[in-house]
């Protein structure tokens, strides 16, 4: 895992970066008292919109959802349109962090953290809409199977319940993935923070992470497992959201093309949103050397590809409507194009079909400002797409006598602007408080660089010359620790130490080193088996839950269908499998790493705070049978470390 130097032409990190410069640059954005002025401007805007949102919600709660434009026949209006839009945007984060990780796309590294945070905030914004739409948001937990005194349970044959499970699972797994990814960086923040409260804040969140070889090994296993599980979610969540429509019998909705078409649209809009946010941010924080032109180019290409998928979806919808020979379907096609909402359809064609074609040209992809404009067009286009599907499908269905029209009220608009405010608010808070780029993964991408390794404290504690007489009898000695410059040396000395017969040894590094666990004689993590077991428990629990609810607790006759209609149980079983496997993985990793651990002796070593940043350490513990304060110190000194330190208990 020691990265090769990337070629300068498509550099994903500008040349000249080292472990230290990466750490300093990214953590420096947060660990400083100076906040850029545009941040305050953005925050003022966001808080203004947030106030508008709070006012709107207060008005909604005191008046009822009649303040929205929703009515017969358009019972879903701006709310579901916006919910699907936000959920779609949420897809980029997991795609970037999970699928691109599995495909070993190293360029994902500088944008995955940001995109994952965006995912979480977008899910939060999305969940506002169904929660508010139920009218009494404090009862929104009724969407989930909670034992209750009403003796009522969710109807597991309804796509809306599948949706609640899919989005709930997606939110939880994304949160775990994001947080697990953050832990080593939080440790770096803890070790770099100068303010006491900042140290506590990051210290508590970092849970005592110390970058041990074994920690990293289980961490990498867990991260890969979570990526694989999240990948299944990226594909499934928007498929299930599309079932909200596709399972209905409405013309224009009842179509098998919906799942793939929705997933592609989600990724399309997600990448557009990442570009919309990153293009100004990289300029504001001068991180063009980390989020390079290559990143923008790659993201533009993903957008172009998913955009073509979406166009294919439009064509298929039209073709099937014509080919079905069904007059209602054909009328829907005509009505969509030339009916009362013709303007929405043609705006959609402009934003989602025509404008993204500019991305074929390198000249557009390499100019951030043009790319930004295309991304904005797609953001808007994807909202209009859902509007066309929902309002266009509902306002004229089978019975002309029940036709009607819909238009959003001022409160509909206020709600959308409000959730956008909430989103910007959370994003700005995130970039001010947490490292927006994954530091430990970025360290993989820079070559080990010996020229930045002067050891400032070396003079203060001369190598191997700490009064040998004082050490032996000490009962307070935890061990001896040697510091090294680069990962290659650490692997070499770890091998040497192990071969010399020492067993109670540990190595600490600021990023995972693949060869290190082998050098230290650690066996592979058993986490995958636990994750498999967790997944199976989840599947059985999901099946048992639905069986119990649908046949025992709340047998409900739906159009004479069998109570045990297992095909409709598959989705919740799937979601529960993923959720349980992911929780087993995340908590199993923490548990097997004995985290959270508030105190550990290695933190007493004077230079140990560099273990989370840019330096590499080897520790021989005093409880090793071969340990001898004098000889062991001499042995370590013989390995040519930058220095050797005593570690007190």
């Amino acid at each position: 895992m020691i990265a090769p130097t990337p070629e300068p032409a498509d550099a994903i990190v500008a040349p000249g970066h080292t472990y230290r410069s990466i750490t300093e640059k990214i953590s420096g954005i947060v660990l400083t008292r100076s906040t850029p002025k545009p941040w305050f401007a953005g925050m003022a805007l966001a808080m203004g919109l947030l106030l508008l949102f709070l006012y709107t919600v207060a008005h909604l709660l005191t008046t009822g959802i009649g303040i929205w434009g929703n009515n017969q026949p358009v019972g879903w209006g701006f709310d579901i349109t916006s919910m699907v839009w936000w959920i779609g945007i949420a897809h980029a984060g997991t795609l970037i962090s999970a699928i691109l990780l599995l495909f070993r796309q190293t360029w994902r590294t500088s944008i995955n953290r940001f995109a994952e945070a965006m995912t979480l905030f977008a899910i939060l914004c999305a969940s506002m809409y169904p929660v508010l739409h139920v009218g009494r948001p404090w009862l929104a937990y009724w969407l989930f199977p909670v034992p209750n005194t009403l003796d009522l349970w969710p109807q597991f044959r309804s796509p809306l319940v599948w949706d609640a499970f899919a989005i709930g699972t997606y939110a939880l797994v994304s949160l775990m993935f994001w947080f697990i990814g953050l832990v080593p960086d939080l440790a770096a923040m803890r070790d770099r923070a100068e303010n006491k409260w900042a140290r506590y804040f990051y210290g508590i969140l970092a849970m005592g992470w110390r970058g041990e070889a074994g920690h990293w090994q289980r961490y990498e296993t867990a991260y890969l497992l979570l990526a694989a599980l999240a990948t299944a979610l990226v594909i499934s969540v928007h498929s299930i959201v599309s079932f909200d429509f596709a399972v209905g019998v409405l013309p224009g909705w009842h179509s098998t093309v919906f799942p793939p078409y929705f997933v592609a649209g989600a990724i399309f809009s997600g990448f557009a949103m990442v570009l919309t946010l990153l293009i100004p941010l990289r300029k504001l924080y001068h991180i063009e050397d980390l989020v390079t032109a290559k990143h923008l180019d790659n993201m533009a290409k993903v957008m172009l590809a998913t955009g073509l998928f979406v166009i294919y979806g439009y064509l298929t919808e039209a073709f099937i409507a014509w080919y079905s020979g069904n007059p209602v379907e054909r009328f829907w096609l005509y009505n969509r194009t030339f009916g009362p909402y013709w303007w929405a359809f043609w705006a959609l064609m402009l934003c989602n079909v025509l404008i993204p074609q500019a991305l074929w040209f390198k000249g557009v992809r390499s100019r951030p400002i043009l790319l930004f404009l295309v991304a904005i067009a797609v953001d808007i286009g994807m909202w209009i797409e859902r509007y066309v599907i929902i309002v266009g499908g509902l306002h004229r269905d089978f019975l002309p006598s029940s036709w009607g029209t819909f238009s959003g009220t001022v409160w509909d608009w206020a709600t959308i602007l409000g959730t956008i405010g909430l989103f910007i608010f959370l994003i700005l808070l995130f970039i001010r408080l947490l490292p927006m780029i994954s530091m430990f993964e970025m360290r993989h991408l820079v070559a080990p660089n010996p020229d930045v390794a002067p050891t400032p404290l070396a003079a203060a504690t001369p190598t191997g010359e700490q009064s040998p007489g004082a050490a032996p009898a000490s009962n307070t000695l935890y061990g001896l620790m040697a510091e090294f410059d680069d990962p290659h040396t650490l692997v070499e000395v770890a091998t040497t130490t192990y071969q010399a017969g020492y067993r109670k040894i540990d190595a600490y590094s600021p990023f995972p080193i693949e060869e290190l666990p082998v050098a230290l004689g650690l066996r592979a993590s058993r986490l995958p088996f636990y994750a498999l077991a967790g997944g199976m428990v989840g599947a059985l629990a999901g099946l048992a839950l639905q069986y119990y609810v649908s046949l025992v607790a709340n047998p409900w006759n739906v159009g004479g269908r069998p109570l045990n209609s297992w095909p409709s149980f598959i989705i919740v079983v799937f979601e529960m499998t993923i959720l349980f496997a992911a929780m087993t993985t995340a908590f199993g990793m923490l548990f097997s790493n004995r985290l959270p651990q508030p105190y550990h002796a290695v933190f007493n070593a004077s230079r140990f705070r560099h273990a989370s940043q840019d330096r590499f350490f080897l520790c021989i513990e005093a409880r090793d049978p071969k340990f001898d304060a004098v000889q062991t110190k001499a042995f370590l000194a013989g390995l040519h470390p930058a220095q050797v330190m005593d570690v007190e208990k």
């Binding site: 034992p147 209750n148 005194t149 009403l150 003796d151 009522l152 006759n557 923490l590 548990f591």
Partner: protein, 202 residues
């Protein structure tokens, strides 16, 4: 992590206990009434029929609270000077109803009809308990929706012959399930529709 899990389990347990506790359901909490009227005396010892006071119970959605005149019908003659009956005499003299404290109260979104339940063999005792032993009336059942549904799902387990509806201390026969099924058929109870939302939420 264990702390978090045990905290969640503990919270769930507390929530479960709380939601079924008298604090929420009001079960076994006797309400002090403006008049120290004892059902135990009137029904249990004197053997008054329920319908003597709750006259509309067989024909109306409500069982009805008796007017002061019903009390005075007897108490003009029996214990006319009793101190305990002073509020009743005041009410009668001033032509102002006694403000009884309501013990059983269903939410407004529930449509409940006494007449249909009495007619279809649901005993007074089934919902109100041993009124004949209560000096002061308290709820004996939670009146939660799940409690209603217990009977609406399987009425045959709970209903009794019509002539036993007013009986206090009725013991179910050993062949309750069999007899119940016969009664369900005889009374024309449409079991398939008893679980419809609109039966109670109209």
């Amino acid at each position: 992590m264990f702390v978090v899990i045990s905290l969640l389990v503990g919270l769930a347990a507390i929530a479960y206990l709380l939601i079924n506790s008298p604090v929420v359901t009001g079960v076994r909490i006797a309400r002090t009434q403006p008049v120290a009227y004892s059902h135990a005396l009137h029904v249990g010892e004197l053997g008054l029929d329920c319908r003597y006071c709750h006259t509309p119970v067989e024909v109306s959605n409500t069982a009805g609270i008796p007017p002061t005149e019903t009390c005075m019908g007897c108490h003009a003659e029996i214990a006319p000077d009793s101190l305990a009956l002073a509020p009743v005499r005041n009410s009668y003299a001033q032509n102002k109803p006694i403000e009884w404290v309501r013990v059983h109260n269903l939410p407004d979104y529930v449509y409940f009809n006494h007449a249909i339940h009495v007619k279809q063999g649901v005993g007074c005792e089934t919902c109100h308990g041993r009124i004949d032993q209560m000096p002061v009336v308290a709820k004996t059942e939670s009146m939660q929706m799940s409690w209603c549904l217990d009977c609406h799902r399987n009425p045959e387990n709970h209903i009794r012959p019509r002539d036993a509806v007013l009986t206090m201390g009725w013991t179910a026969p050993t062949d309750q399930a069999e007899m119940g099924s016969t009664l369900v058929a005889e009374y024309g109870i449409e079991k398939a529709r008893l679980m419809d939302c609109s039966v109670c939420h109209r």
